[in-house]
Amino acid sequence: MSEVIVITSGKGGVGKTTTTANVGTGLAQLGKKVVLIDTDIGLRNLDVVMGLENRIVYNLVDVVEGSCRPKQAMIKDKKYPNLFLLPSAQTRDKTSVTPEQMKALTDELRDDFDYIILDCPAGIEQGFKNAIAGADRALIVTTPEVSAIRDADRIIGLLESEEFKQIHLIINRIRMDMVKKGDMMSVEDVLDILAIDLIGVVPDDESIVIATNEGEPVVNKPTQAGKAYENICRRVNGEEVPIMEFQPDGFFKKLANLFRRGY
């Protein structure tokens, strides 16, 4: 059975695109057939995070307008033959696509893929409405900051009013050293406020910056964030994976932990 998942946040810059790239790649590693759709029309980004920017021929708007078939616009990933990207258009805007067209497209893709993952643009306007139109499940990305959590709350409200049944939270870029000092809200604080189910916690990790520089997802690398994304993918896929406590550790402890446990 296939599932359409939208990755959204309200606020920009909290890590939607990075999450999309890593969750998509992680699910492909689990042997699933996955397509990632960049719905941020006019501000194309998922292609560069995936390192596929040089292979684009057609885009989402071409597909929706019928200028090409979905298969023609899809780019196969460099590493995983079961992972595809449907890039966004760079020279058009959000009104080029309607929610009805997006729903029709995602429904069509259900026949060929296990997971259809939509990277939602920031905001709550047309782009957001397009992205959520055909989705079964939403993953909300937030960081432990007042502005990001406020926006996440608004998005959760909008999704609930659209009768979304499955809404899960990813807390991104948490810094345990700051949480310990009391200078950052903890996972419990965020959950207390937003009151939705947690599906993963991703620590603030330099490896994300490095991986993005190189146009490669971090999920297949032995780093804290890589392990965190791997766990999220397994949970998305229905596995029970406990959310591990992670402590701010010294260098050697960190190194040891990498081999010992997940986050």
Partner: protein
Amino acid sequence: MGFMDAFFRKRSSGSKAKDRLKLVLVSDRANCSPDTMEMIKNDIIQVISKYMEIDTQGLDIQITQTASEGGNGNVPAIYANIPIKEMKKSGK
């Protein structure tokens, strides 16, 4: 005060963030403007004043969160603290 601060460490910024967020979200979620709150407050004063004399200065009305009776999650609730100055004698 500087002397005291050394003993009582200032409240952490993380808990300040949480408290500020809670307040902001209460009004966000209720979708209730300060104007509407003011109108609700005035109406409540009017109604209760028919039966008893209340301290309008000490009156406090706000929208807060409370655990829902249905079990899961919180729901918004109007919290009102209305000091009574004097019960009016029931005029029969």
